[in-house]
């Protein structure tokens, strides 16, 4: 039987676990405000907000930021179109080898980033495609598609297949069915999938390392910046930015899909 109050030792263990997970994040935030720019001494000798101003004026940060934003947005858009189409095909059609193809679609997310990275780098090299923003986008799209696909396919499964036929039966053409029936039922799943894909792309390091040319996305910029001894807290300021840019979409996606059963499955 479960007691209402957890035992003291259990609560201490849970507290330590949470501390282990979240203390490093808190420290990152703390050092964004430190006055010491060369090393992360504890406790910080003083607190300041000047690094935000410094970060704001550094063109290399802006450049990396815009590149990350561009890559994440285009990779997500690509994934939304392709992922939705694949999930629609996989949930509507029954054909030989369907399970195997489903596995192939999911594989990129299961593969270590190093493998995906090397594979893409070799492929791009073989095809003579120069490493550029485009190659980063294509690299990111490989796993973004999986995220969108997973969200959309789960929703398709819950949708009673009859509603598309019902719409046509009542006189709606294909566009009206898409607009009034399919999209409202897929909408939150696609939004959630898109935001997760965006967040994943925004802080991706490994595949980016293999597929980028000279340009740096925000995580790559941070990696390079940590080696330099000057203006270290600027990196922490940027880390906070990345945290916000990835955490907020993930949180929203969670809330959007949490009550998904009310949205899509209640007709059954």
């Amino acid at each position: 039987m479960l007691s209402d109050r957890a035992s003291l030792s259990l609560r201490i263990a849970a507290g330590l676990g949470l501390l282990f997970l979240h203390l490093p994040i808190a420290l990152i935030f703390l050092y964004a405000f430190t006055t010491e720019e060369r090393s992360y001494a504890f406790p910080p000798p003083g607190l300041t907000t000047k690094w935000f101003a410094v970060a704001w004026q550094r063109p290399d940060i802006w450049e990396a930021f815009w590149l990350s934003l561009q890559v994440a947005a285009i990779a997500t858009a690509l994934a939304l179109v392709l992922g939705t189409l694949v999930s629609a095909a996989m949930s509507k059609a029954r054909f030989f080898g369907r399970e195997q193809i489903s596995l192939l679609i999911l594989l990129p997310i299961a593969l270590p980033g190093v493998i995906t990275g090397i594979a893409l780098r070799t492929a791009f090299g073989e095809m003579g495609i120069p490493f550029s923003t485009l190659t980063i986008i294509l690299g990111h799209a490989t796993f973004c598609i999986v995220i969108v696909y997973n969200n959309a396919v789960a929703r398709f499964r819950r949708l009673s297949g009859g509603i598309l036929e019902a719409s046509a039966d009542l006189g709606a053409n294909a566009f009206q069915t898409f607009r009034h029936v399919l999209l409202p039922n897929l909408g939150t799943a696609l939004l959630a999938g898109g935001m997760l894909a965006f967040a994943l792309s925004f802080d991706e390091v490994i595949v980016t390392t293999f597929t980028a040319g000279q340009q740096s996305t925000i995580p790559i910029w941070m990696l390079e910046e940590l080696i330099r001894p000057r203006q270290r807290p600027v990196t922490n300021v940027v880390a906070m930015l990345v945290f916000a840019a990835t955490f907020i979409p993930i949180l929203l996606a969670y809330y959007l899909t949490r009550n998904g059963s009310d949205v899509a499955g209640s007709g059954k």
């Binding site: 009673s160 009859g162 509603i163 719409s167 039966d169 009542l170 006189g171 009206q176 009034h180």
Partner: protein
């Protein structure tokens, strides 16, 4: 006047499977027509051929005289009540019902007014703001009905609409559907695997077996004069007598059917049988007999003495009740 629905040598193949195999069918306007058969017999495919979700491999389908063999579903003036209702989960009941009018471009006030009218027709006034998820199975069924009727179809198709309801609700809905059909005067085409439902509701019915129509006729004709062994067995749970047994019981050398409720137990007769089982039905008891390898059933009304399983008995019946199946 052309028939509401007409099939001329319609065939629908799925790969090697002949789901519908050379069906000729005429459904009169304003009738309540049932398509009865076991699962996989082609009845649902026929319904989908009328609604347009399937197109015939060969043959012609006419709706009120117009060849619709290649017309897509959204351009046909028929509507369907789907088996699982297929209500739009993201819309409230009013918008569900008004959907057919919305896609036609009819304004909000007008279509909502019409939707309310339809909802009151199916006795769901006041439910317009609810979501389908908040309704019971019976209520969803009514919403599906109202939604299908809002476009004023000339033919309404119903795909096992009562299958998901419990027995009591099902019987109530049978009466209601029948009354609604008579009031609206439109043609209802109803698919079911439940012979009681088909017999009690339909003006005429088609019995499907393996993609073909085994028999078309009024419920009475199909029940009393089954054309084939399959119909006798499926529709009436009738006793099917092989030619030798028919002759032994005083008939011609042909396949015949004999309904259990006209079969009585008797002390003596030309052929004796062994009682193998008794099944209590409430209004009577079904006595299962083994007559020289042929299984027969007789209904003994409640209150009359019952034989013990394992004992010998003979049967008696009115010779006029023995139906000879020339087509078997």
């Amino acid at each position: 006047m052309p028939a509401a629905v007409e099939f001329a040598q319609v065939t629908r193949h799925f790969g090697n499977v002949r789901a519908v195999d050379g069906v000729d069918l005429t459904i009169a306007e304003g009738s309540f027509f049932a398509m009865l058969g076991p699962s996989g017999s082609g009845k649902t495919t026929c319904l989908r051929l009328i609604s347009g979700f399937e197109s015939p491999t060969t043959g012609t389908i006419r709706i009120f005289g117009e060849d619709v063999s290649t017309t897509p579903p959204h351009l046909r003036n028929v509507n369907t009540v789907f088996q699982d209702y297929a209500l739009f989960p993201h819309m409230n009941v009013r918008d569900n019902v008004a959907y057919g009018l919305m896609v036609k471009g009819i304004g909000k006030t007008q279509r909502h007014e019409k939707a309310e009218e339809m909802l009151s027709l199916v006795k769901l006034s006041g439910y317009g703001d609810r979501k389908p998820g908040q309704l019971s199975g019976g209520q969803r069924q009514r919403v599906a009905l109202a939604r299908a009727l809002v476009n004023e179809p000339r033919v309404l198709l119903l795909d096992e609409p009562l299958g998901a309801l419990d027995l009591k609700l099902r019987e109530a809905m049978q009466d209601e559907l029948k009354a609604l059909q008579q009031r609206l005067g439109i043609t209802f085409v109803f698919v079911t695997h439940d012979q009681h439902e088909a017999l009690s509701m339909a003006d005429s019915l088609a019995v499907f077996n393996e993609g073909k129509i085994a028999q078309i006729g009024t419920p009475e004709a199909v029940y009393n004069r089954p054309a084939t062994r399959f119909v006798a067995d499926f529709v009436g749970s009738s006793n099917v007598l092989p030619p030798a047994l028919t002759r032994a019981l005083g008939g011609p050398d042909e396949w015949a059917s004999l309904r259990p409720e006209v079969t009585r137990l008797a002390a003596t007769g030309p052929v004796t049988a062994t009682v193998t089982a008794l099944r209590y039905l409430g209004s009577g008891t079904r006595v299962v007999l083994d007559m020289g390898g042929t299984e027969l059933a007789a209904i003994v009304p409640a209150g009359q003495p019952l034989p013990e399983p394992g004992t010998q008995t003979a049967i008696a019946f009115d010779p006029a009740a023995l139906h000879i199946m020339a087509g078997a």
